[in-house]
Symmetry: C2
Subunit: 157 residues, 2 copies
DNA sequence: GCTTGGCGCGCAATATCATTGCTCGACCCC
DNA sequence: GGGGTCGAGCAATGATATTGCGCGCCAAGC
């Protein structure tokens, strides 16, 4: 039961998670040094955390601007129906759009919060239009990000 | 000029970025194999991408539920003022709250979109109350996440 | 109280990987 | 053509990951 709230995570495990959340490419030797263990048991703990699904993966964090994405914005999308088929169809559609990075259903259905990236304002407008024009979409409210004060990945450990 | 849109990123660089965004702990040997290079030039490219800030870091992705955070939600917060001092004060405050994982200013000031985590609904309510009670906060609208159809980190490569 | 297991650590050995210096070929500008 | 630059590959070295094994610690049973 990998989603069992903690209970089996001791202090060392939490420290390992905190370190790897902060720097996922740290060598096992360095990680072991920081948590006060020798390398082998440290690696075994990391493997266990991976196998239990507590560590889901490792990702490089890239600079969006360097890759040509100047704009990050959010969109609140309201659908005309709360029928499951409609909701799934919408989710399936945005799943295929590479510019849509996150799609969360909110308030019990019929509404979605999306996070998107765009190369420029023209691209952003095009994406908004595409959303508005999509079947069953009733409302689109875009939330342009002006500045980001905090962007911590993951969860506090 | 690390934020210069691409131009200096060739096809191999992009492939490296895509692979590392997907699996940030891949060994350099494996990465080199996938992009069709030998290990040394591959490593040199990765180092260059790191030094130029195109790769900002590496992070483990953790299961929030396993760490005791059952709930992820968003909050739209409106302030009573758009004065820079007020905006900064609000940002400084939420920066200190571990449960606030992201804080984006939207629509030119006075409004913020936050992403938060909470252990349970009681915790969530407490956080919402704390937000509402904070100085200069005029409105708080919470957007409860019912289900997440897509949660891709980073940007398309 | 001693024995018996289970559990998790550290040690040591080996395979794998990261990292450096060097050489070579391709391309460009003269 | 003749430097010059750039980036790749090779080879050698140092670090790291990974495995097997033995030991000590704690807890349950006799």
């Amino acid at each position: 039961m990998q989603t069992d709230p903690d209970f089996s995570l001791d202090e060392v495990d939490r420290q390992i998670l905190a370190e790897l959340q902060q720097d996922g490419r740290m060598t096992n030797v360095e990680l072991a040094r920081r948590v006060g263990l020798s390398a082998p048991p440290c690696l075994r703990r990391v493997r266990r955390l991976e196998e239990e699904g507590i560590i889901r993966g490792y990702h490089a964090e890239l600079d969006p601007v360097a890759l040509g994405y100047e704009i990050t914005f959010f969109a609140l999308v309201g659908l005309e129906s709360q029928k499951e088929a409609v909701l799934s169809a919408f989710e399936g559609m945005v799943r295929e759009w590479p510019e849509v990075r996150e799609c969360h259903m909110i308030r019990g259905g019929g509404d979605f919060l999306l996070r998107l990236v765009a190369r420029d304002t023209a691209h952003e407008n095009a994406l908004t239009s595409r959303l508005t024009a999509a079947p069953e979409v009733a409302r689109v409210q875009t939330l342009q990000t002006i500045r980001t004060a905090k962007d911590a990945a993951g969860v506090p450990v």
